[in-house]
């Protein structure tokens, strides 16, 4: 199934479109998605360690605007947001 990852903050550097689409298996979790994103960075940014660190220190937000755990099961066509470490104000 296809899902869209909406990019925010430093993760916007991962794509010019502010969005990355992934093909994932049914009943994939956020944990699987993290692995998918790391593979994407390996392929497209030569394994940029700073980018990988962003993925590993981020949380993810479901389509209904809840921060979800690594065990969260992603549903078909769901739009997930990556939430890198924050610092506004």
């Amino acid at each position: 199934m296809k899902i869209k990852i909406e990019l925010f903050g430093a993760s916007r550097e991962f794509s010019k479109n502010n969005l990355i689409e992934f093909e994932i298996n049914n009943s994939s979790t956020i944990k699987d998605l993290r692995i998918k994103m790391i593979n994407y960075l390996d392929q497209n940014f030569n394994g940029n360690e700073n980018f990988k660190k962003i993925v590993n220190t981020s949380v993810f937000c479901s389509e209904n605007n809840n921060i979800v755990s690594d065990n969260y099961k992603i549903t078909k066509n769901e739009k997930i947001a990556i939430i890198p470490p924050i610092g506004g104000g």
Binding site: F8, G9, A10, R12, E13, T57, S58, V59, C61, N65, N66, I67, V68, S69, D70, N71, Y72, A81, I83, P84, P85, I86, G87, G88, G89
Partner: protein, 150 residues
């Protein structure tokens, strides 16, 4: 009473007048206005501006949670809170955040104002990209949000 909003800088600048209109009331004897502005130095680098990014829905949700907590954690019942945060590119000296609070007495107003900005720093999904005099720019590292159980 709460007003909570992310304001796209392309549409409007955040304004103390709006804050004042919202919190002014004969019910309150103490008001505090906190503003955050873009300064010219950070980590020994000369800053010329900051781009602010945000997950708008989550940010507003966090503002609402902070407001509700002031009820049961701080026990401040009667109050008006105005929070606006800018999104987009801001030049030096421009205002990135306004927090206006109005309460019956000054003690609770000071506590509330400080509580709100500290909690926003901890949990509202807002990011800064600094722009420097040497044409470089960097996303600031920030602090990871703690995972919630799901």
């Amino acid at each position: 009473m709460l007003h909570a909003k992310i304001v796209d800088i392309k549409e409007k600048k955040i304004s103390l007048l709006d804050a004042e209109k919202f919190v002014s009331s004969f019910d309150y004897g103490a008001s505090i206005y906190f503003t955050g502005t873009v300064r010219n130095q950070n980590n020994n680098k000369s800053v010329i501006g900051i781009t602010y990014d945000s997950h708008n829905a989550l940010v507003v949700k966090s503002f609402e949670e902070i407001y509700n907590e002031s009820e049961y954690k701080l026990k401040i019942q009667n109050k008006a809170i105005f929070i606006e945060h800018a999104k987009g590119y801001l030049n030096l000296g421009e205002t990135s955040i306004i927090i206006a609070v109005a309460c019956k007495h000054r003690d609770e107003a000071y506590v509330l104002s400080r509580y709100i900005i500290e909690e926003i720093k901890k949990r509202s999904p807002i990011w800064k990209k600094e722009h420097y005099t040497d044409n470089q720019s960097d996303w600031l590292k920030g602090n990871p949000i703690v995972h919630e159980k799901n």
